[in-house]
Amino acid sequence: MIYVGQRLLRAILLLAGVSALCFLFTEMAPGSFFDEMRLNPQISPETISALRAHYGLDQPLAVRYGRWMKSALHADFGYSIAYNMPVAPLLWKRTQNTLLLTTTALLLTWFISVPLGVWTANWREGLLDKTVTLASSFVISVPELVIAVAVLAVAVRWRLAPIGGMTSTDFDGLSEWTKLQDLTRHLALPVLILAVCESAVIVRHIRASMVEALDAPYVHAARGFGIRRARLLFRHALSAAANPAISLLGFSLAGLLSGSLLVEVVCGWPGLGPLILEATLSRDLYLVIGGIMFSALFMVGGNLVADVMLLAFDPRIRREGTNAD
């Protein structure tokens, strides 16, 4: 339990740090929401400063941060100037969409990476292994944006799946079953792009930890007792490789979340990505900070889940936990 407590504390400190940095950077960034208004001769400087005061933007940084912290504790996260409404409900809807995208991509990533990692570790230097190594180096070295555009281009050329939005325009009139189909088709491309980019990284890690486990003396010893190859792979080596793989889970969630911000913009998926971009362009301060905080929150949450799973899986860590009790 102490183990989980420590992780929780670390997560909270991390979030506080991220928020402080957010404030600092937005303060240093040039421009503000009211820049365009200032250029408008019909709006008097008095109106603008009144508005600034209304949103609390005339206060010093520390005061604003303190106020924001207080509202964040009430799950509020400040007020959007552009939308003229609290940030939290705005973010919440978008967050659901982002989470749908990233968890689907996460599942697909692991669905691809684990079997492929196990296979390539078992048949080292085989045809598939060489192909995977080559393909993953390629994907890793090419920017995500290029891959996204390439996938979209292919999809457009052969009309493989719809691009843009989450649903078709006639979505509301569809039956439940066709609604699900429609949503799936809209999910397909962004999920594919994310999963391809992330699998390229994850498959290498899984292969490496499987190779290490397969070469470990205990797997060699088990082989000497006549245990079948398949059993060695999936029971003996995979359970030993699970520890690094689970730590990787949190890491891969982080990768997917940051990747999704970009992919959402490119594919027109109505998640946090386009919202943050839009808010940044219009200098909608609290919306930017809120969006970043939500992303950070899920990243930290994902890592916490991985930590707890690690605790459940690995007896050595479990012991450290109980010793500390």
Binding site: A216, P217, Y218, V219, H220, A221, A222, R223, G224, F225, G226, I227, R228, R231, R235, H236, S239, A240, A242, N243, F313, D314, P315, R316, R319
Partner: protein
């Protein structure tokens, strides 16, 4: 001539194994090793570090690393040549007919599997038992190797066990399917002296109860005293002397054996530096990448003769059941 092939459980004939490291010259680790083991017999392999003991143990299960090649010779187990068997048949033999107790018990157990399930895995891969029977089988085995509370041990993880306990788990795995031959590669060298004695007692007991033949490997002659029936002394990839344990300790024939035994027994008397891994004999083992033509012990031997560096000494039998490759025992005039 009597046909002895039924009497022997294992017949190793002129086995040659070479390592081909990715960088560097090939290493001839076994250079014509011949050895017979009868059912229920304990045979000890004695030799300094690097003489090829572990290579021999792995070769017997055909578990050599990929860069090693078995270049010549044969390994007959119950009349079947293991070197020509397909992997599927070998898998059925490993753990069921020949078992290898690994060298280092700290590394040989899977850190994320319970002790009991690791023993259970061996049963499951060879015997058609249901879950209940398997569990009972594991508990019986744990009791047999000396655990008084097998239930508790069943669900502990390796890191919760001591070195001696881990070695017992490894032994339980090895004997789970009642193999006819047990290979123990330095089964006790990682343990302290009192634990060593306990493990030797356990192995002797297993042999007595189940008639298991044991090929025991060690660099320490004392390990074999009161345990092995016969001993084979290895030097630089070859067996230089095979004799009963009494002969090895009482009147060793080969100058190398004499030196090993003298050092080991004198340090028992004085109690000095017993933990030193290597017996101290002047000189070094020959470079395995370029072995001499003649007797390999010649550079270190204080009884060497002219002939010794010219060709490899053939096998002589100066006493019944004692074979030695040394010119002292014949042909010394050349």
């Amino acid at each position: 001539m009597v046909d002895n092939s039924n009497k022997y459980l294992l017949q190793v004939h002129e086995l040659k194994v070479t390592y081909f490291p990715a960088n560097g010259d090939p290493v001839r680790a076994l250079d014509g090793v011949s050895l017979d083991i009868c059912s229920g017999e304990v045979v000890g392999i004695l030799g300094e570090s690097g003489c090829g003991k572990s290579t021999l143990a792995s070769a017997l299960l055909k578990m050599l690393p990929p860069q090693a090649k078995c270049e010549d010779g044969s390994i007959l187990f119950r009349g079947r040549d293991l070197l020509s068997l397909p992997e599927r048949d070998l898998r059925a033999i490993r753990g069921q007919e020949i078992s290898l107790i690994p060298q280092d018990p700290a590394l040989a157990l899977n850190p994320v599997m319970t002790a009991g399930s690791q023993v259970s895995e061996v049963l499951r891969s060879h015997l058609p038992l249901n879950t209940q029977q398997r569990r009972q089988g594991v508990l019986d085995l744990l009791r047999e190797v000396g655990f008084n509370e097998p239930q508790e041990i069943y669900s502990t993880y390796p890191h919760q066990l001591s070195g001696g306990q881990r070695q017992r788990i490894a032994i339980a795995q090895a004997v789970a399917c009642r193999p006819a031959l047990l290979i123990a590669d330095e089964a006790t060298s990682e343990l302290d002296v009192s634990l060593q004695a306990e493990i030797v007692t356990l192995l002797s007991q297993i042999r007595r109860q189940h008639g298991t033949a044991i090929l025991a490997i060690s660099h320490d002659p004392v390990f074999f005293a009161g345990f092995a029936d016969r001993m084979a002394v290895m030097y630089a990839g070859r067996i230089v002397e095979v004799a009963s344990t009494d002969v090895i300790f009482g009147r060793p024939l080969h100058p190398y054996t004499q030196a090993l035994v003298r050092i080991a027994t004198s340090s028992v008397v004085t109690g000095a530096a017993k933990s030193a891994r290597l017996p101290v004999i002047d000189g070094e083992t020959p470079n395995p990448t370029s072995l001499p033509v003649g007797c390999r012990f010649e550079p270190r031997c204080c009884e060497r003769m002219d002939v010794c560096s010219r060709r490899y000494p053939p096998e002589f039998m100066p006493a019944p059941l004692a074979n030695v490759n040394c010119f002292k025992y014949g042909e010394h005039v050349d």
